[in-house]
Symmetry: C2
Subunit: 210 residues, 2 copies
DNA sequence: ACATAAAATGAATAATGATTCACTTGTTAG
DNA sequence: CTAACAAGTGAATCATTATTCATTTTATGT
């Protein structure tokens, strides 16, 4: 026996995988999934295309993983906002803000996650991601119902409406169809946008004018 | 001069174009945009692929036109519901019902229009289509504000939230990721789904518990 | 140094589907 | 009937990209 995988090699491989993955992320951040081709990613990572395939089964697999990780960060942030102190309503409000503000801060990635046309495997991830949001919201709504700050309702349904309302409100502003000039809203405008989304959503939940 | 386009010929051509167009519609209704290939459409219409290109500049052009027409029908129905007698709130409610019920009745087409990943040109049509809905809703909201049945608010924003909430609520049920069994909801379930969407939306608009 | 095995390479291949175009067929007017 | 032109044809071509694989490079243990 003359070759056995050593620690050093394991590290180097892990590094390579990481580098590829991160370059994939960067590609998506720059031009969305559509313009992110395996050849580009490999090139950016400084490896041959063939090498990429040693680390990922297929393009779809790679981008599904990228999607998943980008998504997880976002979902975590929302979960975090929901895990603070206060009534369910306050926490939901904070979570919606978090969602919208983060999206407006990183518009290309946000658009890719929310609305860009993608391959089926990635689309499947998107479905999961939206469901993940919905489940977090749903939980908070149930808590709200329990504590009396939210009137009884189909928590599942309402949570889906929340996700839809906020996502749709962002699609327009984030869309690359807009010129960059249009996409760059003033902080003032952003603030207003977020406020009116939150307002609609909380009213929809509580049936209480605010 | 020996050949000049005659009435008969004009008709025949119009017929051919129509046939191609309609077969395109059928293809989309059956399997969505993804599975609708020019070759299929041509075959279904009983013409050669080359012929199709005498009537449509490109695949994208053809399907964008198909999308537009399918969409127009839906938007018209909503506009119709909004044009009846009654307060803005009642009319908006009727419009939301119309939207949801029609979608549940033709799930494949509805999914294609609302959520299927599509080519850029078609995606652009989708943006317009969602805006068309939003504009109709917006108008009704403004009327509601004027007549006092809806509290003052950013009508534009609220209308976008309506579109998002209803679309998102339908994506899950319509998605072909669901088995057909899952997708076939009982009329009972459909009714409940529609009710809870409408409830959330009207509350979001009016801030009044119902 | 050398044998062994894994990792990296990237040009060649495969797969998919839209689009073209040289040619055939059909239509019209004189 | 025939010249003149338009419509129709569909196999061949083109374009785009993901994926493979024969070959080269690199790492390891003796």
């Amino acid at each position: 026996m003359a070759y056995r995988e050593t620690e050093k090699m394991r590290n180097r491989k892990a590094e390579a995988r990481n580098r590829i993955f991160n370059c994939g992320v960067r590609c998506v951040m720059e031009g969305g999934f559509r313009s992110a081709q395996v050849t580009h990613v490999a090139q950016a990572a400084g490896v041959a295309t063939g090498t990429l395939y040693r680390y990922f089964d297929s393009k779809e697999e790679l981008f599904a993983e990228i999607f998943r990780s980008a998504t997880q960060r976002e979902v975590d942030k929302v979960a975090e906002a929901l895990a603070t102190e206060g009534t369910a309503v306050t926490r939901l409000e904070a979570a919606l803000r978090q969602f919208a503000e983060r999206a407006l801060r990183g518009p290309t990635m946000a658009w890719s996650l929310i609305a860009e046309p993608v391959d089926p495997k990635v689309e499947a991830e998107r479905l999961l991601y939206r469901q993940a949001y919905a489940r977090h919201f749903e939980q908070a709504i149930r808590e709200g119902i329990e504590e009396g700050s939210v009137p009884p309702q189909e928590a599942r349904q309402s949570s889906t409406c929340l996700v839809g309302a906020i996502a749709e409100s962002l699609v327009g502003p984030l869309s690359p169809a807009q010129t960059d000039a249009e996409r760059t809203m003033s902080p003032q405008q952003q603030q207003e946008l977020v406020e009116s989304i939150v307002c609609f959503c909380i009213q929809g939940l509580t049936g209480t004018r605010r």
